[in-house]
Symmetry: C2
Subunit: 401 residues, 2 copies
């Protein structure tokens, strides 16, 4: 089975390539290394040294005797996309190839428009190339739980049946995204839905929670196979950033009141979920949606878990509520369904103290590489809003009713 | 009151500029004349000769002694947008400045990605410029009823309260758009909603039905003030195209079974609706949505109305069902609310036989300019689909239940 991974140089793309390669899939990857340029722009680096894609593919071949083919190019270049699809003839296309950071998209108007046009045009090119030269391939697209926002009703897996004035209709679950980046993924969802409805393409959208973790079975084989683990404000996800803060004796900084609840999952579970999606393709004309996370926590709970695990390692971490650079509800109802991947056989790696301790130990080995000045970069959702001003969104009484 | 009209050279933009100018508003317009380039690309022209924007503004000043300022530039150029907003200081911004054609967006992947990036980036630039230099201005954005698609429940005006598992939430009404163009407007809606929620901007979205009509009170003042009335497959709307077909003795061609139901309105009512929206600005942080149409018809009903009106003028028009180039439900439930503009005082110009006869007479004066080869251009929603193949969308039993 031939799998093409778009964004194969990234935090999740590269481990996915190895995960599938070692399990017998014929894996090829696409990347244009844009993420590395964004890192240079912001002056940030992954925690572990990360070799070039070429180097990592060579190490992988040396260690496993398995080949991962590399196609270097930009998804916004349609000719490149069509040529690659035609040459490879993929059975499945795993699409991580997007600008993945909410703060990056909120830096200013140029980062905002770049994020939306880059992500939307890249995905449209993928859909048109599938239509014209890979019509039976299965698209596995990484969405995000952040697309849903924090509605006051249960979040279902992708679709919502609405009863209204005596009739009913099943809609794509309506989205209320909280950043320009998250909106780009909402736009993608609508475009993919259209491509399935109108052209009969087959797709699975994995609305992923916040991923944490430094390594997978494969990346742990050799330091030269490390993936790009970020801890900075722009590319680092909450738990990863908190872990680094604890290890380097910086305060752990949940934003605002810290009642923001989100779904989380271990990077190893991302690998498993993507493999489950590939192994169970959707039907022609079907956009299947899975909510891809294993547990939900408030940001405060997450901070406390890291603090407690650190303490067992002899690190006295403090938790300090930082002014919230985002405009978001800090207390809200949140109940998101996530049963469909479990039904397919997912066995979650839950977030226990042992796992956090192991993460902290790994981070500890690279503590000298941490650039503290990048833990808080200061991207604000509304640069004109005074910090004391209450957000226009999410009043407590409304959200908790 | 200072009003800036984006897309002021267009079918609706130009008449809106005149309509507001003559009523005492201080009107300026923005255009980059992209639409005229698209017309050249497709080899189509408006039915009436249309002077340059510069010429029309000069005629307008000659006839009314009122000035309409012109800013020539591209909304995808942020510096231009910010500079223009700063210089003018608009109280209201009427945003027609987008690629407006569904068939144009479906020509191929390049027209698709162009349409979405042009429309989405232009609107994002408008929102950021409002945030930074025109925070109290009121955005009046032209959406389309086509964003909603044809759900099996009533279409409300912009928002839908959903009751689910004992709780409730008010969502932006979920959209199921039927073309890449319509999707671009759905993306805009989500982005505008975000800008209102996060930055406290004020906006009104006018989800407009299909507009028909050749002239307004102002454009009728002088032939040199004519607006760009299109009758070709790509830029011509249904009733306008049918009228031209009847006049030049071509068959009137509804697509497929012709049960497609849509909302329609007279171009004069567009003028009135936009003025009502401007005169009643939304609150800070509020995205208000109006469904802007006055009547709903099936395409077959529309075709018959034109045929009947033509007969009274001695024209024996025929109605021939053309193979449907689109992939869409051809029989479906459709009940879209449209009361909010009526509540503000809209007095609709309904589609009676007299109005159609008057349209046909006006069209008749320009019949020699009609290029019959452009009535059907042949843009297909799915070029791989055989005509006999049933669409994947909208089975009759489901839609009519």
């Amino acid at each position: 089975m031939r799998v093409l991974i778009l964004g194969g140089d990234g935090y999740l793309g590269w481990p996915t390539a190895m995960h599938l390669s070692v399990r017998g899939y014929d894996v090829a990857v696409v990347d244009n290394f844009a993420k590395r340029a964004w890192e240079r722009e912001l002056g940030v680096e992954p925690l572990m040294p990360v070799g070039s894609l070429e180097q990592r593919v060579a190490v992988w071949q040396e260690l496993t005797d398995r080949q991962i083919r590399v196609f270097v190019g930009d998804l916004t270049d349609y000719d490149f996309v069509e040529r690659t699809f035609r040459e490879l003839g993929p059975d499945a296309i795993v699409h991580y190839g997007e600008q993945p950071s909410a703060p990056f998209s909120m830096i200013d108007v140029r980062h905002a428009t770049y994020t939306q046009s880059n992500n939307v045009v890249g995905t449209l090119n993928v859909l048109f190339a599938m239509r014209d030269v890979a019509r039976d391939a299965h698209l596995v697209k990484l969405g995000t739980m952040g697309e849903y926002g924090t509605p006051n009703i249960d979040i279902e897996e992708g679709y919502l049946t609405v009863h209204h004035n005596g009739r009913s209709h099943e809609f794509l679950y309506p989205k209320t995204a909280g950043s320009i980046y998250h909106l780009s993924k909402v736009h993608d969802s609508h475009n993919i839905h259209f491509a399935c409805r109108i052209w009969g393409l087959r797709a699975t959208e994995l609305n992923q929670g916040v991923v944490y973790g430094v390594e997978t079975d494969e990346s742990a084989m050799d330091p030269r196979l490390a993936t790009a683990f970020h801890y900075d404000e722009v590319f680092g996800t909450a738990l990863n950033r908190f872990g680094v803060q604890a290890v380097v004796d910086e305060p752990i900084t949940p934003y605002g009141r810290g009642g923001q609840t989100r779904g989380y999952l271990n990077i190893r579970d991302t690998m498993a979920c993507v493999e489950l999606a590939i192994g169970n393709p959707s039907e022609r004309g079907e956009l299947r949606v899975y909510n891809q996370f294993t547990e939900q926590f408030t940001v405060n709970e997450l901070a406390q878990k890291v603090r407690d695990a650190a303490r067992e390692l002899g690190i006295e971490a403090t938790v300090v509520q930082a002014p919230n650079p985002r405009v978001e509800a800090e207390q809200h109802y949140y109940n998101a369904k996530h049963t469909r991947l479990l039904e397919l056989g997912l066995r979650p790696n839950l977030l226990g103290p042992e796992l956090i301790r192991s993460m902290l130990s790994t981070i500890g080995r690279y503590a000298e590489r941490v650039n503290r000045s990048k833990l808080l970069i200061g991207v604000r959702w509304d640069p004109h809003r005074r910090e004391a001003e209450p957000a226009l969104v999410g009043s407590t009484s409304e959200d908790l009713r």
